[in-house]
């Protein structure tokens, strides 16, 4: 039922909040370890504009990183897919770049780019660049050879094959990469903020923790969580619509 789709997450959310409250009440944990839902809700209302402002900053960083990472990743994958030398030179670079824990680069980025949102966008971009590139490149490589055979007998040019067959065929794989990127981009933004920022939800969490405003800290965390979840579901929904032809989205027949 359509209604069930909305009701179920609602029930889950309410359930989680109740469980949260239960833990606080039963264990009598101090508020500076785990504040009750009530305290957090009050903090949300009290600091609503700060949360909103910082929320927008972080959202901007996440989306900026997502956009830039996807553009760079797409370009890299296309170049590698088209030119063998590019593949041979870029692939090892990319593999090495993944081996380095990206978080370790955060202080360097803040040092080079500064305290502003630039370094956070750079961070998010770095984190998602490889998954996106790898996903698209993989998709381009795995084109059904039958399609390529058919195109060859039809005297198609290399560009036509790329444009009309290889790229569309790679879209489901690319979509997986974009989903991963959407899930992971917030991490880049927040880690960037933790390292050095005055604005954003991650910075807010850190600063409020330092001032023992744990209720505000949790409030910021909740806003972040909701934002990330909403972002993921929106992107997922959009991808499903764009890829309506993809096998897992269509009912089986026969």
């Amino acid at each position: 039922m359509g209604a069930m789709k909305l009701i179920r997450p609602l029930i889950i959310t309410v359930g989680l909040i109740l469980a949260w409250q239960a833990i606080v009440s039963l264990t009598e944990v101090p508020f500076f370890i785990l504040p009750s839902p009530m305290l957090v809700a009050m903090a949300m209302i009290e600091h609503a504009d700060k949360l909103f402002e910082d929320g927008l900053v972080t959202l901007g960083e996440i989306l900026g990183g997502l956009l830039l990472g996807i553009i760079l990743g797409t370009a890299s994958a296309l170049v590698m897919g088209l030119f063998r030398p590019a593949r041979q030179w870029l692939m090892p670079v990319m593999v090495v770049s993944q081996a380095i824990p990206v978080f370790a680069l955060a202080p360097i980025l803040v040092l080079w780019i500064g305290y502003g949102i630039g370094s956070k966008i750079a961070m998010a971009t770095l984190i998602i660049y490889f998954p996106v590139t790898a996903a698209l490149f993989d998709g381009l490589r795995r084109t059904n050879p039958g399609y390529l055979d058919l195109a060859r007998t039809m005297d198609a040019s290399r560009w036509a094959v790329l444009r009309r067959i290889r790229i569309p065929a790679a879209m489901p794989s690319f979509a997986s990469g974009v989903r991963v990127a959407t899930a992971v981009s917030p991490i880049g933004a927040i880690v960037g903020e933790w390292v050095g920022a005055s604005h954003g939800l991650g910075a807010l969490m850190l600063h409020s923790s330092g001032r023992t405003q744990i209720d505000l800290m949790f409030a910021a965390l909740l806003v972040l969580a909701v934002m990330a979840v909403l972002l993921y579901f929106s992107v997922d929904r959009l991808l499903r619509r764009l890829l309506a032809w993809s096998p897992d989205s269509l009912p089986s027949n026969d």
């Binding site: 059904n144 039958g146 399609y147 055979d149 058919l150 195109a151 060859r152 007998t153 039809m154 005297d155 198609a156 040019s157 036509a160 094959v161 009309r164 067959i165 569309p168 065929a169 879209m171 032809w245 993809s246 096998p247 269509l250 027949n253 026969d254």
Partner: protein, 249 residues
Amino acid sequence: MTATDPIQSDISIHIGRLTFDGTTLFNGLNFDLPAGKWTCLMGVSGVGKSTLLRLVAGLMPEETAMTIKSSESGLEGQIAYMAQDDLLLPWLTVFENVVLGARLRGDEFMPGRALHLLEQLDLLGSAYELPATLSGGMRQRAALARTLMEDRPVVLMDEPFSALDTITRVRLQEFAAEMLRGRTVLLVTHDPLEAFRLADRIHVMSGRPAVLFEPIEPTGKSPRDMRDPDLLAGQAELLERLARSKTVA
């Protein structure tokens, strides 16, 4: 090149030496594709029928030694190809798939012609559906429409109907026989009944390196009636030849 003036001369093919994975698949093989007729290639799995077809289709790497003689220079742009997999692009509608060739080449095409072909193949109602909503038989009919849309004089088919159930297969054979009439067809199949129903000349391929047995040439107009006793006798003879051929895989 249109169907109204197909290649008038026979196509004569000579394959030199072709090795694969250490074994010699072919070592000097000759056969002809008579103009405007159906030639069928049969043999046990692994003997090299599909490889041979792919060679003729130009799908093998350039270094393979093969010469093709026809009145035209080679078979460039003369071939339409149909495989066991319908190869319909899943993100395109049936109609878009039928006109794929023209789209890939950047040519003009006549939508009316594509729709007419779909109508002849009973697919007009599904013209704007995605292939995933079609049954196997419908999809292969769409592939046949695409093949016909290409309007090439030579048609190469690699077991195009073998993945279908018997009744659908029989129906498709009839469609193909009617609609590809007058073109030079090379059909690879493992079904002796299909071979005998459709082909004007049947080669059985055997051994490694592969050789062709003396061809069988069924008489009468295709698609031949399944109740025809000659058909059944021919099928039996084919089966016997196939059984006699050496296993290679």
